[in-house]
């Protein structure tokens, strides 16, 4: 029986330094925009009709990027 694998449960499946670094490297303006977009996406990610979310994203970009 194999014993060479690291214990799966010992590694946290959370955001790694790499993921954090990617997000932190974004400008404040872009971070804000990404947060807003994901907030909108949360409830509609499974839906096939996308026109409403497109309008919302478009409006967020216009509001945040002057």
């Amino acid at each position: 029986m194999s014993t060479e694998h690291p214990k799966a449960s010992e590694t946290p499946p959370g955001p790694s330094k790499r993921v954090e670094a990617i997000f932190k490297s974004a400008s404040e303006e872009h971070k804000e925009l990404i947060r807003e977009i994901l907030k909108e996406e949360r409830d509609v990610q499974h839906m096939s009709r996308r026109s409403d979310i497109h309008t919302k994203i478009y409006d967020h970009v216009r509001r945040l990027i002057k």
Partner: protein, 693 residues
């Protein structure tokens, strides 16, 4: 999502109102439902699917989907169809709230359109109850139907999920359960014509002619890309449809006594071929990666030898490392004494001689560079050697797989010829039709390959244009603002895509470890699970002795092992999703979640592994409900489940039916934990009762 209570009323054989309370205890998370085949296990599973997703959620093996109301009662109420309904109610907890979901259909509605039902959802949060206006929308947000087949399934059919053609569904389930779908959808939406395209149009309307041209070219390429993407997905759908048609034809050939054996052999060979092709595909990808990353080292042998010779030559002449460096000579001049004890007075011939040497002397950086060069030559030599070895091994693996595929193709061709020679006209017709469809499928598969290549080339072109457009500055305020918005959309799209890629790349090995750890415990062999970059799950093991050359190869799994592989994969995915839900994420909504596992007959084909599955799966998934027959709940399973200490609730299905309707092999009594329960009752009318043990 943790299931709490299921109430069913007049749903198929479940006459009247009956309920199941699921165990929601984290340590004792298993609910067992014992039932003979034909007593209603599949119906119970489908009751859960129906309340969640309606008609379209019912499983393909659930027969008579258009008649959900208890047959006997439907007959009695045929003159007052509005007064009889089938109803399923499910209470579950999710994200700190309690959800009460109901779906119902009455006899009159069922006769008009069995797909149209009534659904309601109430949410109890912080002591207040809210009625959800769009219940299906909310359910889909909590538990998208894409992952339902990984959570509520028939264990005997789970093998199908492992097929190559279902890889997309596996990837999608991983994304959804681990919270990555949010990032995927956000990327798609940011890149959509309604968002990015609209901002580009605003930019083009306000910018220079030159930039406008580039934007137009970019848009043209994107249209081409979309069209190629759409063609690719159509071709894939056509392949799927042809596959289904071939399956139907093959089922007919398998049912024919003339061709039964040949078709069985063909099915076995096809499965083997599919596995070998997937393995060859993986080997090719590894080869491409190896050549792209380290292939150049194979052409450096001469260069390395030459570099080594030069270094040796300089070393033998004592020129490297430099015996005397500038700081040492400067120190002599500063101190005014040479190492030979002569005075180094400024202006003296000795002073001038040392000063001249100082101007040509190398510094410490030179010696550092010599060490770095030595090191680099060593590394290059090592990488070249390892690359050569890996290349040999992969080439050998590929050659072996190609040989195996060819042998199987030869055998398949033999079978085709033998079937085609049968005297039965019907058989000949079926075989010809099968052959024509297989040819069409091959043609489409090859078309998919060229479309993928085309998409790759277009993507490169788009990236180049994008970078050219960004470099061109705008003078007008409006144009500059439009450019900033285009940049923001493109940049955010890129960041979100990068986050998705990083999360996926980092979660994949975690899932690998999780699966490997549990798979090897159940199978009791030195196997390693490997989820490839495109989420193809393979099981690998080392072959060859220590003295001999050891190499890792894909393991050809038996049907039972494949079933174990998928069960462990699903349970491990649920375990990882649960752990991920417990750690903070950088972006809200990208965490995992808790999901229940409800499986009908999970021990169907896995014979010797039943004990391992019973022991480990309850440890992985947050909540497990198992529907099983008395024969599946044999000594090993019973013992293993008892030893886990995780079984909290038990039910059994009692069947009421006319005399002699008990299926052959089924017993009138059920024995659980040494106690006997009557599970068959003679009655005029057929119905099933849920009884708690």
């Amino acid at each position: 999502m943790i299931l709490e209570r299921l109430v069913i009323r007049n749903f198929r054989q479940f006459k009247g109102e009956q309920e199941i309370i699921f165990s929601d205890n984290k340590e004792r998370n298993v609910t067992l439902i014992h039932a003979e085949n034909g007593f209603g296990k599949t119906t119970l599973l489908n009751a859960i699917l129906w309340v969640l997703y309606g008609y379209k959620g019912l499983t393909p093996d659930f027969e008579g989907k258009t008649h959900l109301i208890h047959n006997g009662m439907a007959h009695s109420y045929r003159k007052k169809p509005n007064e009889l309904e089938a109803m399923v109610h499910l209470t579950f907890s999710h994200d700190g709230a309690r959800y009460m979901l109901s779906r119902a259909i009455n006899l009159a509605e069922q006769e008009v359109d069995p797909k149209k039902d009534r659904m309601s959802l109430e949410i109890l949060r912080d002591g207040q109850t809210f009625n959800q206006d769009r219940p299906q929308h909310r359910i889909q947000a909590i538990i998208p139907d894409g992952i339902s087949k990984f959570l509520f399934f028939n264990g005997e059919r789970i093998d199908e999920l492992g097929l190559d053609k279902n890889r997309g569904e596996v990837t999608s389930a991983i994304h959804q359960m681990l919270g990555l779908n949010l990032l995927k959808r956000a990327t798609e939406d940011l890149n959509h014509a309604n968002v990015r395209g609209k901002f580009r149009k605003e930019l083009a309307d306000n910018t220079s002619d030159e930039k406008r041209d580039l934007i137009t070219r970019q848009e043209e390429l994107e249209i081409k890309q979309m069209s190629a993407d759409s063609n690719l997905s159509t071709a894939r759908e056509e392949i799927q449809a042809i596959d289904d048609e071939i399956k139907t034809l093959e089922a007919k050939l398998a049912a024919n006594k003339e061709t039964h054996e040949l078709q069985a052999k063909r099915a076995q060979l096809q499965r083997q071929k599919e596995e070998f092709v997937a393995q060859a595909d993986e080997v090719n990808k590894r080869l491409a990666k190896l050549i792209a990353e380290d292939g150049y080292t194979l052409f450096t042998t001469e260069l390395v030898a030459k570099g080594k010779a030069i270094m040796e030559d300089l070393r033998s002449k004592n020129q490297i490392p430099a015996p005397v460096i500038d700081t040492f000579l400067q120190q002599l001049l500063d101190e005014g004494t040479c190492i030979c004890e002569r005075c180094l007075d400024p202006g003296s011939p000795e002073y001038e001689a040392v000063k001249k040497k100082l101007s040509d002397a190398p510094n410490q950086d030179f010696n550092n560079a010599v060490s770095a060069l030595d090191h680099a030559i060593g590394i290059l030599e090592g990488v070249a050697e390892a690359t050569g070895e890996n290349l040999k091994q992969l080439t050998r693996e590929r050659a072996e797989l190609t040989q195996r595929i060819r042998t199987i193709e030869g055998e398949l061709e033999d079978i085709h010829q033998k079937v085609g020679r049968k005297d039965d006209e019907k058989v000949k017709e079926l075989e010809e039709s099968r052959r024509a469809k297989a040819l069409k499928r091959d043609e489409l598969t090859s078309r998919c390959g060229s479309l993928k290549k085309e998409i790759e080339i277009i993507s490169e072109g788009i990236s180049k244009l994008q970078s050219q457009i960004r470099k061109m500055e705008d003078q007008e305020d409006k144009a500059a603002q439009a450019q900033r918005r285009v940049d923001a959309v493109e940049e955010c799209g890129r960041i979100v895509e990068e986050l998705l890629q990083a999360e996926t790349e980092e979660l994949r090995p975690l899932l690998n470890n999780e699966i490997s750890e549990h798979f090897s415990k159940i199978i009791d062999r030195d196997y390693r699970a490997e989820l490839s970059e495109d989420f193809n799950l393979r099981i690998r093991s080392w072959v060859g002795s220590e003295d001999d050359e050891r190499m890792e190869q894909d393991v050809a799994l038996s049907t039972g092992q494949r079933q174990v592989k998928l069960l462990v994969f699903i349970a491990s995915l649920l375990a990882l999703a649960k752990r991920r839900s417990e750690v903070p994420t950088i972006l809200k909504g990208t965490a995992g979640s808790e999901y229940p596992l409800v499986t009908d007959a999970p021990f169907g084909n896995i014979s010797v592994f039943r004990e391992g599955i019973s022991r480990w799966v309850p440890n992985l998934a947050p909540q497990v409900t198992i529907l099983l027959t008395p024969s599946q709940y044999d000594g090993d399973v019973e013992k293993a489940l008892r030893e886990t200490g995780r079984v909290a609730k038990r039910y059994y299905l009692a069947y009421h039916g006319p005399k002699n309707t008990l299926r052959q092999g089924a017993n009138a009594h059920l024995t659980v934990e040494g106690k006997e329960y009557q599970q068959y009752f003679e009655a005029d009318e057929e119905f099933t009762e849920i009884k708690e043990i």
